[in-house]
Symmetry: C2
Subunit: 489 residues, 2 copies
């Protein structure tokens, strides 16, 4: 059998795995949107069986043999296929390094930990979660060992974004820390006003926002959930979800954020995306796209100029007495706070940096799990000048650690970093960008992103993409320029 026909055979196997992975995403989507409460236990079992079948297929000897032979004959493949095979080979090597004992221990530990975390968070008591976090940190250290980099946090970073290391992140985060400190020193202390709007209006207005930025409702939909997310449940079925609060406008920015993720998914290279599973994406590129639409576009004057007129017509009692400038200042308030997911675009990165520093301390520097709350509170006091009243609004606020996602948080801020680098490059390539913005010509921007980011970003990591696109390495300069420029007083 020729390498080409072996490749065809391999792609058929991956196409099946991808479809099963999409089904798993659909089952999870239903769990968050429409599943009745008593179905929860049975649902977990359904997901576990799908995961087992996917794992079996991903680690089958047949697949391993095909991959091995094709990998040894890479030179006979097209450039894209080479990329594709390298990525799958890397993934396969990672998968096969972990014994099934380790995989099932990991799975049972995190299942228990997430339940413990929910209770601990509700009871605002870190001590209920600490023993589980302790086990997870132990397993993560074992993971670094299995991956050949004992007690090195880099091993965990690489898992979420290929080739990402502390040596790349550290200078970027230091620059951001310094710049943020300066911006915060000059920002006036402002009172956050409440916008009271009907949920029904929010639902229809967020649909409108999604349509405006180019989200295809014929290949997706928006539903209500407890915590917003985006998920690809099929090749032409990329769904966003949203959370609606009567007393703030967060759903508008969630729509733009999840919509940005979805535009990336809708713009990916279909030939390859139907061969990849949900976790085989650059998280940094993903976050760069969500943040671009949420912040760079979605908090700009040009974006809201026509929309604010509609809002004033829709809800004169809420927006009628306000000028566009007042509205813009209210959706761009910078104010240090305790909760990451509610943070503004300036202080957000400090929330991430604190988590990054604590994760490194736990994996590399011998920080004890029971010292986490103290270090957490101290860093919040130091970087943000705020102090959690309890662990529920402190180190228990995020789900990530309970499911073992160490090395994940940094990708959020690196997404901000990348979005600013891409935007800077876009402006250089399109000197008429101000006209494009003023005309709200988002199809033009989306078209450029599809060609330059979404399609090439299907099989490329963020570090490689930013270099080949802009000629620069990943760096904080453009994000800092953007923020300093926007929030200069």
């Amino acid at each position: 059998m020729s390498i080409q026909s072996k490749l065809k055979q391999l792609k058929q196997i991956y196409a099946e795995i991808t479809k099963l992975d999409q089904i798993s995403c659909l089952v999870s989507w239903d769990q968050e949107t429409y599943m009745p409460p008593k179905a929860a236990a049975g649902r977990s079992e359904q997901l576990a069986i799908l995961a087992k079948i996917i794992h079996q297929k991903n680690t089958s000897p047949q697949l391993g043999q095909l991959l091995q032979v094709i990998y040894e004959n890479l030179d006979q493949l097209s450039t894209s296929d080479q990329r594709f095979i390298r990525q799958k080979y890397r993934q396969w090597q990672l998968n096969t390094r972990f014994s099934s004992d380790f995989v099932s221990l990991w799975s049972s530990t995190t299942s228990q930990a997430i339940e413990a975390w929910k209770i601990a968070k509700a009871k605002k008591d870190f001590s209920l979660f600490a023993p589980f976090l302790h086990k997870i940190v132990d397993l993560l250290k074992q993971k670094t060992q299995i991956l050949g980099q004992p007690n090195n946090y880099d091993a965990l970073l690489d898992y979420y974004e290929p080739n990402l290391t502390k040596s790349i992140i550290d200078p970027i985060f230091e620059d951001i820390k310094t710049a943020t400190k300066q911006i915060l020193a000059n920002v006036p202390d402002t009172h956050c006003e409440k916008f009271i709007t009907p949920i029904k209006w929010q639902k229809s207005f967020t649909q409108k926002l999604l349509s405006i930025i180019g989200y295809d409702f014929e290949a997706g939909r928006q539903d209500q959930v407890a915590h917003p997310f985006m998920t690809r449940v099929g090749d032409n079925d990329i769904r966003v979800t949203n959370t609606f609060h009567t007393n703030n406008l967060s759903s508008l920015f969630s729509a733009l954020h999840e919509g940005g993720h979805a535009l990336y998914e809708q713009g990916m290279d279909l030939e390859y995306i139907q061969l990849l599973t949900d976790d085989e994406r650059s998280l940094v590129i993903h976050e760069s796209q969500s943040r671009f639409w949420e912040n760079i576009i979605g908090r700009s004057e040009a974006f809201w100029r026509p929309l604010f007129v509609d809002m004033q017509t829709d809800l004169p009692e809420v927006f009628g007495k306000m000028s566009l400038e007042e509205f813009l200042s209210k959706i761009n308030i910078i104010k240090p706070s305790l909760i990451r997911v509610q943070a503004d675009e300036v202080t957000y990165n400090l929330h991430i940096i604190i988590r990054y520093e604590i994760e490194k301390m736990l994996i590399e520097q011998g920080l004890k799990v029971n010292e986490v709350p103290q270090v957490w509170n101290q860093k919040y006091q130091e970087y943000l000048g705020v102090m959690p009243a309890h662990d529920g609004e402190g180190c228990l606020q995020d789900v990530h650690w309970s499911i073992g996602n160490f090395g994940y948080f940094p990708t959020y801020t690196l997404g901000n970093v990348l979005s600013a680098q891409i935007w800077n490059y876009y402006k250089k390539q399109n000197p008429n960008y101000q006209d494009i913005l003023n005309q709200q010509d988002y199809p033009a921007i989306l078209f450029w992103l599809q060609k330059n980011v979404h399609k090439p970003g299907t099989l490329t990591g963020a570090l490689e993409l930013v270099k080949s696109l802009t000629g620069e390495d990943l760096n904080a300069g453009h994000l800092i320029d953007y923020l300093e420029n926007k929030y200069k007083t």
Copy 2:
């Protein structure tokens, strides 16, 4: 390994198969409820992969060996497990009789046929569907041969309801035909009035109806679709769907019908139902439960007495000027018509009998496919006194034949038959039944059904159930009594 531990192992395999089958039901449910239009092609592929995996698991040598050994040692098992193993062994023998070539030919033929049927129905032109129906009838004849009963329709009946034969059906259908003719001769010709009600009201009122009959919304939900159905997508997740029309009240009766199906599913023996796939149910028992709530309860005076007061309060402009008696007569109008799914409870059975007779003619009596429209129209004229203006409202109206479901239609009328037998037995066992009805004490009725029908009906066919419950064979007597009594003039 002991037989008991082999049984345990086998049950684990079946539990996995059931969960995958439930996932497949959820994926299909989403396809009908919330899937965006462009996702259709990818969705079919997802379902095909699940079907393949389920088929592989169901026909694996490991499963076959376990089943064989356990079947040879049936006497070591509990009565329920014996029943369970007999059913699975029968299913396994059926599955393994068909070559994979036959299975894939069947699958590709019916996929094409359903598309051809859709077009033919839309164009009202049977000739576009005829070549496909011809292929399907050929394959069905091959099926009877493979099943050891060449050109015998019984082989197909047995597939949907174990041990069902023409010799059981024929006298039942003859009795119904005669009795229906007499009822129709005495029924006055009435004009069907339209009820115009808002969809929003129908949605909330049907939720109320479902709650009243005991449907558990903590373990299910109701959603809007093009054609109503019920589906079990998890152990505690049994969903109903509904179709809402502004100009009639069909959604109310659909809610009771699908709700009846769902009550049966919610009442089944959990120990075994989590080991069975969606097609391993008695269709006759299922239909007896949907028809019981839709017709025997759902078109009765006692049921609507309190509800009609609510309806008059909700929508005085629609129901305010009408008495309860007038309303009851309007929802119980008997009028021969062309479309099965819109038929009343008296004429409905004639629609089924016509289909049954034509199916027998096609399989056993050499009726040619292109003669179907002529025979169809002739029988409608003869039995119902109506004549289709075109095949769209004639022999193309149902999906069943396009997916090869021959032998399925009779289970609908046998469901009516069984519902009347069960109800008759209930009344004998509960002489105070009129009080129960007058008090709308549906929990009491449901409790009795769960104990006497739902739980024992999990591993028992309709023929066996009706005999062991009532002491009688399946017979039309009680249905005819019920209809004659209700519609006597």
